[in-house]
């Protein structure tokens, strides 16, 4: 198992007291598998994704990534996990505004020490970014920025790709195209994909779908073979 969550709970402190966001989550994901997290706003999807990425700590429970219990890791260990094992794609793209498209694409791979020029070239072609390499993020459209963000993550060949509403800021046609590209590239790299989405249509394209309601797993649906 690449990802294992056991009885994970998380709550946020608010002025009115603790606000439970996730309660007793048990979840697992095999290498090469894809999983969609769906649910209403505030159901805990993004929080779950952040916990898996090592961006945040659970209040209770265990999270294992690639056989490693990340609860015991310090700040440095979590940073190393994000650098080498996990790749993140966000709805807001979160590209580095001071770097060109080419530098953005190579950035994570170089951080992880896995930069492969040939693979980067292939990705650039597949993502249709050849003409945009010298541009800066602010000079790109939303769809182009998201393609760069996906390219940046996949260039590092992470074992686990975590995507948070990757098409949320795109129109349906562009979103579909980007999604198709991401699924196909994830499949090519052999990575696992954990994606947060509001869209049942997109969720239906992944191997499995988990629906969250008020911080609990409400429903699990396997894609028909």
């Amino acid at each position: 198992m690449l990802v294992v969550l056991e009885d994970v709970s998380k709550s946020y402190r608010t002025a009115e007291g603790p606000l439970p966001v996730l309660q007793g989550i048990d979840l697992s994901l095999d290498a090469g598998q894809s999983l969609a997290l769906t649910g209403e706003s505030g159901s805990g999807k993004s929080t779950l994704l952040h916990l898996v990425a090592g961006l945040d700590h659970p209040d209770h429970g265990r999270i294992m990534i690639d056989g490693q219990e990340i609860g015991g890791l310090d700040d440095k260990g979590r940073a190393a996990l994000r650098r080498s094992t996990v790749g993140l794609v966000f709805q807001q793209f979160n590209l580095i505004p001071s770097l060109t498209v080419a530098a953005n694409l190579a950035f994570h791979a170089r951080l992880a020490g896995r930069f492969d020029a040939a693979w980067q070239q292939a990705l650039t072609t597949r993502l249709g970014l050849e003409q945009l390499l010298t541009r800066y993020p602010e000079q790109l459209s939303g769809g182009q920025q998201q393609r760069v963000a996906i390219g940046r993550t996949l260039a590092a060949r992470p074992k686990l790709v975590l995507a948070d509403e990757p098409t949320g800021n795109l129109d349906e046609a562009t979103g579909d195209a980007v999604m198709a590209l991401m699924r196909s590239l994830v499949a090519e790299t052999g990575s696992s994909l954990l994606m947060v989405t509001h869209s049942h249509r997109l969720a239906g394209q992944l191997d499995r779908r988990i629906h969250l309601r008020s911080g609990r797993i409400d429903q699990t649906v396997e894609r028909a073979a």
């Binding site: 505030g42 990425a53 700040d75 966000f90 979160n94 505004p97 001071s98 770097l99 992880a112």
Partner: protein, 803 residues
């Protein structure tokens, strides 16, 4: 109602960001304080000069003086009176009372026009006592205290006289000064008959001089005050960087609010007017605080300035500050002007903002390539104009314009150079973090460049002024060693004692060097003429800047004179030029000597020529040459034999110490303003870093998400501050040295009349570098601490879709 609602929405921004408001008000207050503090000092000094100029009604009444500067004869005065001229005789001179100098003015109260009588003296009921022996001596309360115990006529305190000035009857003054029957000038009463014969017809060599509204003192000290004003303005400009930065940010952060208000029906005119009203309110609050703070700054600095003016120019300025209404008003006006100047661009943008303009929180900080190119072109044009001005212009205003051009050009060029350097580093680096570091620093540059420009200005001013002062100190110390060659300086009480002294000293010391001088007009301005003995002390030590092989022989035989650098530069006098001296006799320039710290032109002639042309010269002071180990014994013997007070016997070391004290005092105010400017620049840096830190999270969070720890991010942010401060410091070095060169070779020459060699002091740079780094780190401390304390949940908000 609409306006009130809109204003409340606009003001809510400051409630949510109190630190931003504090920075805005602090920047404006500091800028106003430093400017108005300096203005207060200048106003106080100028008020004193005006009082000095008004002492004898010189600012309003004509005067009759000798063309050559020689005294006016009693017979000439009588001839003028007989011809119908209503003139009143005046004698002026310096009375030495040990270390105390009293500028003595003798008047004839019976003929003196009312305008020429200083306030309460004209209204005196003591006329009889004033006119009859022993007379009355009017002085200020401060001077009366200093003079108590001296053998002088009874003292009477006058509120209208400045410290250091004494006014008495002309007969009493002539007796005290040892110049019986001598008249320095004649005051011309207003309303003379129209059919009077011209003065030149009655007394040859006398001329009528028009009133002098400014006064000699005001003219002499002009350069000093211009210097202070220039530094005050520099501090003001540096303070405005903070204001500009704070206003720019606040406007950009409220862009969404502006858009909402506009879309809800608020006209652009009303919105701009409301923002203007808000700024005027801030300007008034900060202006009042700035003026109060300025009063404090002025009060702290004024005693130093007063001591400098006294030491350098003999100008008497009170050590306490008077609150003047016009100063309050000017402080508020400058605060308002500064605010509007700093906000003009932002207000213009709001005025022109399209209704559907997107909110771009970082738009203000984004400088386009073309913007930088424009900035570089402006800097180059400014440098070219500055060089042309330095090459072809002259005068003190040109000197300060060159300084201004140099500083402004360098400040404009700094962001361009930084951008080029950072781009080069980004290209050279191979590691992803380093590449991001340089690229990100380059992206932060527009937001930081104002603060860095302020830092550059402050550092350059520090290096420039520091180099000037240290060069001056080094030259001055060496010069003092040459100039003060005699081991002991002695002043006799009177002429009889001086004669005894000369006899007694024969055989007891190696040489007795007279230090005798007269005052008079040389080429139309007050000057001092000294006599110099033909002695190896002068031949071996005197600091000559220009000479001929037989300079000293010419001086000794009375065929040549030495002039100081000030006189040589002012009148472009060279060796071989002829020079008319008081009394109407002419000599030839045989050499030029350096004479630092003296505002007056000075001429040195042979001692025989001095006594021949000015037989009445006071012969009281002497420099004595003797083995230094005998100084103590001889001083003691002199004191016992002649009953001399301690102040009449000064050894070389004390005199040097005193001279160096005056020197240090002269630059203490500049040094204080320098430090304050650096402090303000540090604050500007802090304001910018705080501003940027509020916008940093969205830029840092993705890097964190990709595997950098928060500690690494903090260290990188710290490194960025250090790198930028170091580059700015390196850029400030050539600018500061250029500044020092302009100060030494242009401004000093124009202001004081002397040029100094430039020396380099790398040790000072190291100290300044440490100070600048400390200031930068201090300014980065709070933003970095905030970043270090950022929790993962804050960083996650950047990625959250449902924020």
């Amino acid at each position: 109602m609409m306006r009130r609602t809109a204003m409340s929405a606009l003001l809510s921004h400051w409630r949510r960001r109190p630190l931003q408001l504090v920075m805005l008000l602090l920047g404006l207050s500091l800028a106003t304080a430093l400017w108005s503090g300096v203005q207060a000092i200048n106003a106080e000094a100028r008020a004193s000069y005006d009082r000095a100029a008004a002492t004898l009604g010189q600012d309003r009444l004509d005067r009759i003086v000798s063309v050559t500067g020689a005294p006016i004869a009693q017979s000439e005065f009588i001839a003028l009176r007989r011809a119908g001229w209503l003139v009143s005789p005046v004698i002026e001179g310096t009375l030495r009372l040990g270390p105390t100098r009293l500028h003595l003015i003798g008047i004839d109260p019976l003929t003196m026009p009312a305008e020429g009588m200083a306030g309460d003296i004209g209204a005196t009921n003591d006329l009889l006592a004033f006119l009859t022996p022993p007379g009355l001596l009017y002085v200020s309360a401060e001077t009366a205290e200093r003079l108590s115990g001296q053998s002088l006529p009874p003292l009477k305190v006058s509120t209208s006289l400045l410290a250091g000035i004494g006014m008495t009857d002309i007969g009493t003054a002539q007796q005290l000064l040892g110049k019986p029957g001598e008249i320095s000038q004649l005051i011309v009463a207003p309303g003379q008959r129209l059919d009077l014969p011209p003065v030149e017809q009655i007394a040859q060599g006398l001329v009528v001089k028009a009133p002098d509204a400014q006064g000699d003192l005001a003219r002499l000290t002009d350069s000093f005050h211009l210097n202070l004003t220039a530094f005050g303005f520099l501090a003001f400009a540096v303070g405005l960087f903070i204001v500009y930065s704070a206003i720019g940010l606040a406007f950009e952060q409220r862009r969404a609010t502006f858009r909402t208000l506009r879309s809800l029906g608020l006209p652009a005119t009303t919105l701009t007017a409301l923002l203007l009203a808000e700024l005027v309110g801030f300007a008034i609050v900060a202006g009042i605080a700035g003026v109060l703070l300025g009063y404090l700054v002025g009060s702290v600095l004024l005693p130093g300035v007063a001591a400098t003016l006294q030491g350098l120019y003999g100008a008497s300025v009170p050590g306490t500050l008077t609150l003047r209404p016009q100063w309050w008003a000017s402080g508020l006006v400058i605060a308002l002007f500064g605010t509007l100047a700093a906000a003009a661009q932002s207000l213009w943008r709001v005025w022109r903002m399209p209704l559907l303009a997107p909110a771009q929180p970082r738009a203000w900080a984004r400088a386009s390539e073309s913007g930088l190119r424009l900035q570089a072109a402006a800097a180059v044009a400014l440098f070219a104009a500055t060089i042309a001005l330095a090459a072809f212009g002259s005068g003190l205003v040109v000197g300060f314009s060159v300084l201004g051009g140099l500083l402004l050009g360098a400040a404009l060029l700094l962001p361009v150079l930084l951008a080029l350097f950072l781009a080069l580093m980004q290209r050279l680096t191979r590691r992803p973090i380093a590449e991001w570091f340089w690229a990100d620093t380059r992206q932060q540059l527009p937001g930081l460049s104002l603060a860095l420009m302020a830092l550059l200005l402050a550092l350059s001013a520090n290096i420039g002024v520091g180099t000037m002062v240290s060069s001056f100190r080094l030259t001055f110390t060496g010069w003092l060693d040459q100039r003060l060659a005699a081991e002991l300086y002695v002043t006799a009480r009177d002429e009889a004692q001086a004669a005894d002294l000369r006899t007694w000293l024969t055989g007891r010391v190696d040489a007795v060097l007279p230090i005798w001088s007269v005052s008079g007009e040389v080429r139309g301005a007050p000057a001092e003429i000294f006599g110099v003995a033909d002695d190896p002390t002068y031949r071996d030590n005197w600091p000559l800047l220009a000479r001929v092989p037989d300079t000293w022989d010419r001086v000794a035989t009375g065929t040549g004179a030495l002039i100081n650098e000030q006189l040589s530069r002012r009148d472009r006098l060279m060796i071989g030029d002829s020079l008319m001296l008081p009394g109407g006799w002419t000599t030839t320039v045989a050499g030029v000597y350096s004479d630092y710290g003296n505002p007056l032109p000075q001429v040195m002639i042979g001692i025989d020529a001095l006594t021949k042309h000015y037989p009445d010269v006071a012969r009281l002071r002497y420099g004595l040459r003797l083995p230094s180990e005998n100084v103590g014994t001889l001083s003691e013997a002199l004191r016992e034999r002649f009953d001399l007070p301690p102040e009449n016997l000064v050894d070389q070391a004390s005199l040097k110490r005193r001279s160096l004290d005056i020197f240090e005092q002269t630059f203490s105010v500049t040094a204080a303003l320098n430090i304050l400017t650096l402090g303000v620049a540090g604050l500007a840096m802090f304001a910018s870093l705080m501003t940027l830190s509020t916008m940093r999270l969205p830029q840092l969070a993705p890097i964190w998400a990709m595997g950098l720890t928060r500690r690494q991010l903090v260290l990188l942010e710290l490194a960025r501050t250090v790198v930028l401060a170091i580059i700015t410091l390196l850029a400030a070095l050539p600018v500061g040295l250029g500044l020092a060169w302009v100060l030494l070779s242009v401004v000093n020459v124009e202001a004081f009349g002397w040029q100094l060699p430039m020396h380099i002091f790398p040790g000072d740079w190291v100290r300044l570098a440490a100070l600048a780094l400390a200031a930068s780190l201090l300014s980065a401390f709070i933003p970095l601490r905030q970043l270090a304390a950022v929790s993962p949940s804050d960083l996650l908000k950047v990625f959250a879709n449902e924020r």
